[in-house]
Symmetry: C2
Subunit: 125 residues, 2 copies
């Protein structure tokens, strides 16, 4: 049985302002610290680098054969309903030996929803 080398790839939108990426970088660092045996990368749909297909190609080059993509988006709009499936199809076609899974939008998770609600209540002071 071939061994499995895993990676977790955060997939975010990207923005013009460099400051925008800060919480995504922190999320990557925080998550990587909890997963010492897994490569954790931050990638973007547009406006920022690296893009998802290039980051995946680099991971495959490093010997990764099992990738979980987590969309760091609050809601499921056109980017997750249309753009990400197209990217995933292209990645699977380019890397036939790779197992690629795509999780649901992070903002739909009940734990994230509860934490966001906590923040709203605290914001009222």
């Amino acid at each position: 049985m071939p061994s499995t080398t895993r990676a977790l790839v955060l997939f975010a939108h990207g923005a013009r302002a460099a400051s925008w990426a800060a919480p995504f970088e922190r999320l990557r660092e925080q998550t990587a610290a909890r997963l010492p045996d897994v490569r954790v990368r931050l990638t973007f749909l547009e406006l920022m680098e690296p893009r998802l297909p290039q980051a995946v190609a680099a991971l495959v080059e490093e010997g990764v054969n099992d990738i979980t993509v987590v969309p760091v988006f609050l809601g499921q709009g056109g980017h997750l309903l249309r753009d990400l499936p197209l990217l995933a199809d292209g990645i699977r076609a380019a890397h036939p030996g790779l197992r690629l899974q795509v999780a649901g939008a992070i903002g739909e998770d009940p734990g994230v929803q509860a934490a966001m609600s906590d923040y709203c209540v605290r914001a009222l002071g």
Copy 2:
């Protein structure tokens, strides 16, 4: 001393796909259930209704004089650095008796960050 009537206004980006708004609606409902004495509204920057200035005008009409805006954005890009301050200035000018506070982006909150990291770890299976 005049009495205070408060509202919490969630401010999200908006999208073309109606499905996108679902987690924001749930966040509004979940938060409203915890704040029975506060009006909780969901508003959008673009593509969806209601927009922030119109929702605030309706709240002021109802007698609200203290509003906290929570940006339901993951990062602080141009929409929060530029668009939201301009909207807030316009709202303050239009409603001189209103106290309007703007919180930081929900995605920058350490509790939300921790919940997002938990989701990433769980997504690996």
